[in-house]
């Protein structure tokens, strides 16, 4: 079990946004975290990457919690934020080196991986650029390259498709599948439901800070037989119940 979130209550202040959330991501599995704006997706992710501390409940990655050994916990995660965040004073090359240092990677090996990724995302000739000169999509690609440079066991990807060109979306999906095949786990939050339907192994549907339902597409279809075939239909019917 790569990631286990069990009975987590949490949020930014004393008022909990997440109300007793539990789900897991197994080795070599791609799980989609689905929910409306404000459903608690980003809050969940912030708890997993350790920016927030749960009021109750635990989060473990391969048996380690952040309080037991924060170093070992963080070492296993690679994170791609929703809005790209970059160090304004570092060039692209230096961002990559920063990631290599942080995860204590072998330089030569990491650069080999990096070069491949840079080529895929057409950034190879921009190694000496500053973030200020990158477009939104390019910044997003820098985030992707920095994350996939590592040999992390768990990738946390927050809404990766917005701002990426179709080619890059395709490349990213390939990359995700490649790492999945190597045994890495991926938790991905997204609003692009048809892409999620095609690529994710399982789904966790969040609504108002609670796990509404979870499972594979066929499990969801079985649970809500009248809702429809696609993830989109299922999701819409689920939120509709709540609106009435």
């Amino acid at each position: 079990m790569a990631l286990t979130v069990s009975h987590v209550v949490g949020g930014y202040s004393q008022i909990p946004v997440l109300k007793d959330i539990s789900f897991d991501v197994k080795d070599g599995e791609l799980v989609g975290l689905i929910g409306l704006n404000g459903a608690g997706k980003s809050t969940t992710i912030n708890h997993i990457i350790g920016l927030l501390t749960p009021h109750k409940g635990t989060i473990t990655i391969n048996g380690v919690t952040i309080t037991q050994d924060s170093q070992a916990y963080k070492q296993q995660i690679a994170y791609i934020p929703e809005t790209p965040v970059l160090y304004q004073e570092l060039t692209l090359r230096e961002h990559l080196e920063m990631a290599m240092m942080a995860y204590d990677l072998d330089q030569d090996q990491a650069w080999e991986t990096a070069k491949k990724l840079l080529k895929t995302f057409r950034l190879a000739n921009k190694l000496d650029w500053f973030p200020a000169n990158f477009s939104k999509g390019m910044k997003q690609k820098v985030m992707i390259v920095c994350a996939f440079l590592t040999q992390a066991k768990l990738f946390i990807i927050d809404e990766p498709f917005l701002g990426l060109d179709p080619l890059a979306v395709n490349d990213l999906l390939h990359l995700i599948q490649e790492r999945k095949a190597q045994g890495a786990s991926i938790l991905m939050s997204t609003h692009v439901l048809d892409t999620a339907q095609r690529y994710c192994d399982r789904f966790v549907l969040l609504h108002s800070g609670q796990v509404k339902t979870e499972g594979t597409l066929s499990e969801l279809q079985a649970a809500l037989p009248e809702a429809g075939e696609s993830l989109n239909d299922i999701y819409l019917s689920m939120t509709k119940v709540d609106r009435q």
Binding site: I49, G50, Q71, K74, V85, E89, M98, M101, Y103, D104
Partner: protein, 408 residues
């Protein structure tokens, strides 16, 4: 719309008042008085050496007045969001812009009159002008400034296929011609010329503005630029949140930066050193204070004064470096990367030690070269060494640890 401008003007003036209070602190006023007194004395001495009939005298006046008339920009107080929210109000914006021009007059015209007042004795000595003639020139100058501001107003609207009316060649051309006429013939003729130009622009604007669109992007960029200039000035005296500093690549420092090995335990030193050297905010502070300190130390004498001054400057620099530790706190990877807080602190202490040692070294060098006596030199070096060690190795980690504990 005029009400909108009034609200913005009130807010703007409140903000300016807040900063001006900080700028004109006791020290600055004192220094300014000395400076102005010195300048006044120099000017009056200069006037005594001048006689009438010098061929270059009107030329100097032309240059001074030509530059002065360009001073005082069109302050629109337009904001970035206006191009979205005020777009449907485009026609009504005319009232707003006219009000903005009226507001811009105050500072601009005051500047014109002050400069003319200062120029009066010069004009009377070198050109043997009567006060009435000088008054004519003052009228010309004011109307000319009015014309230039009107050109700015007209240029807020776009005219297809036409060069902007307030292009700098137009502004300078017009002002130099009118002022030259005033200086070499009669100021009152120049005043008539200025009135004609002003009237022409006014008539043109009245006839055209209804059919044209506002150049939103340009006006916003101009206003941002104007405000940035003001904030930069205030930033010399106090911290202005709107000025975040800029980043320069500084290729020439790469050799120095590459000496930090790409290793897990050096990650933060790698980041901090680059941030420090390439950003202008903190490096500017260190360089400014070091240079000021060195200049002061070069001029003062005494046994203990250099020691105290060196200690003071090192303390000032070391103290102000502390917030740089939190520079990257709002970047999520600072928290997500598997690096410990202790690693970060160690790197930061290393950086502070390096900076303070360099600064202290430079100041000690100045003291040694300026004084050439054993006691002040030894005293300065000794005190500086102890202070750098204490500030960087003891005080900095203590303070940052306490700050981190208080935070949570």
């Amino acid at each position: 719309m005029i009400q909108l401008f009034k609200n913005r003007r009130a807010r703007h003036l409140r903000e300016m008042a807040k900063y001006l209070r900080l700028v004109f602190n006791d020290f600055f006023v004192f220094a300014l008085l000395f400076f102005l007194g010195g300048l006044g004395l120099g000017y009056s001495n200069l006037l005594k050496t001048l006689t009438s009939g010098l061929w270059w005298a009107p030329l100097v006046a032309l240059v001074v007045l030509g530059i002065t008339v360009q001073v005082g920009r069109f302050a629109t107080l337009i904001e970035d969001a206006d191009r979205v929210f005020l777009l449907p109000k485009e026609r009504a914006m005319q009232g707003y812009l006219v009000a903005a021009r009226r507001y811009s007059q105050w500072l601009a015209q005051a500047t014109q009159l002050i400069v003319l007042f200062i120029m009066t004795p010069y004009l009377r000595v070198t050109l043997s002008w009567s006060l009435a003639t000088v008054a004519g020139l003052a009228v010309t100058q004011v109307i000319l400034k009015d014309t230039l501001l009107r050109l700015d107003l007209a240029s807020a609207y776009q005219v297809t296929g036409q060069r902007r009316m307030n292009h700098w060649t137009n502004k300078w051309g017009l002002s130099l011609i009118v002022l030259a006429v005033g200086l070499w013939t009669n100021p009152w003729i120049a005043a008539i010329l200025a009135v004609l130009a002003d009237g022409a622009v006014a008539v043109w604007f009245q006839q055209h503005w209804q059919r044209q669109q506002i150049r939103w992007r340009e006006q916003i960029a101009l206003e941002d630029n104007r405000m940035l200039g003001i904030y930069r000035f205030f930033n010399l005296f106090t911290d202005v949140p709107m000025v975040s500093g800029t980043i320069h690549r500084r290729h020439y420092l790469d050799g120095l930066l590459r000496r930090i090995p790409v290793r897990h335990d050096q990650a933060y030193l790698y980041l901090y050193s680059r941030g420090m050297l390439r950003g202008t905010e903190f490096s500017g502070l260190v360089v400014r204070l070091t240079v000021i300190g060195m200049i002061l130390l070069a001029f003062i004498q005494g046994t203990w004064l250099p020691v105290i001054l060196t200690a003071l400057f090192i303390y000032l620099i070391g103290f102000q470096l502390l917030p740089f530790f939190q520079q990257y706190d709002d970047i999520v990877f600072t928290h997500v990367y598997p690096l410990t807080w202790e690693q970060r602190l160690r790197s930061f202490v290393q950086l502070v030690t390096l900076i303070l040692t360099t600064t202290a070294g430079l100041m000690c060098l100045v003291v040694i070269l300026a004084d050439r006596r054993l006691l002040p030199a030894l005293g300065t070096v000794g005190v500086a060494a102890v202070e750098v060690w204490y500030l960087a190795r003891v005080y900095t980690p203590q303070r940052l640890k306490r700050a981190a504990q208080n935070k949570g």
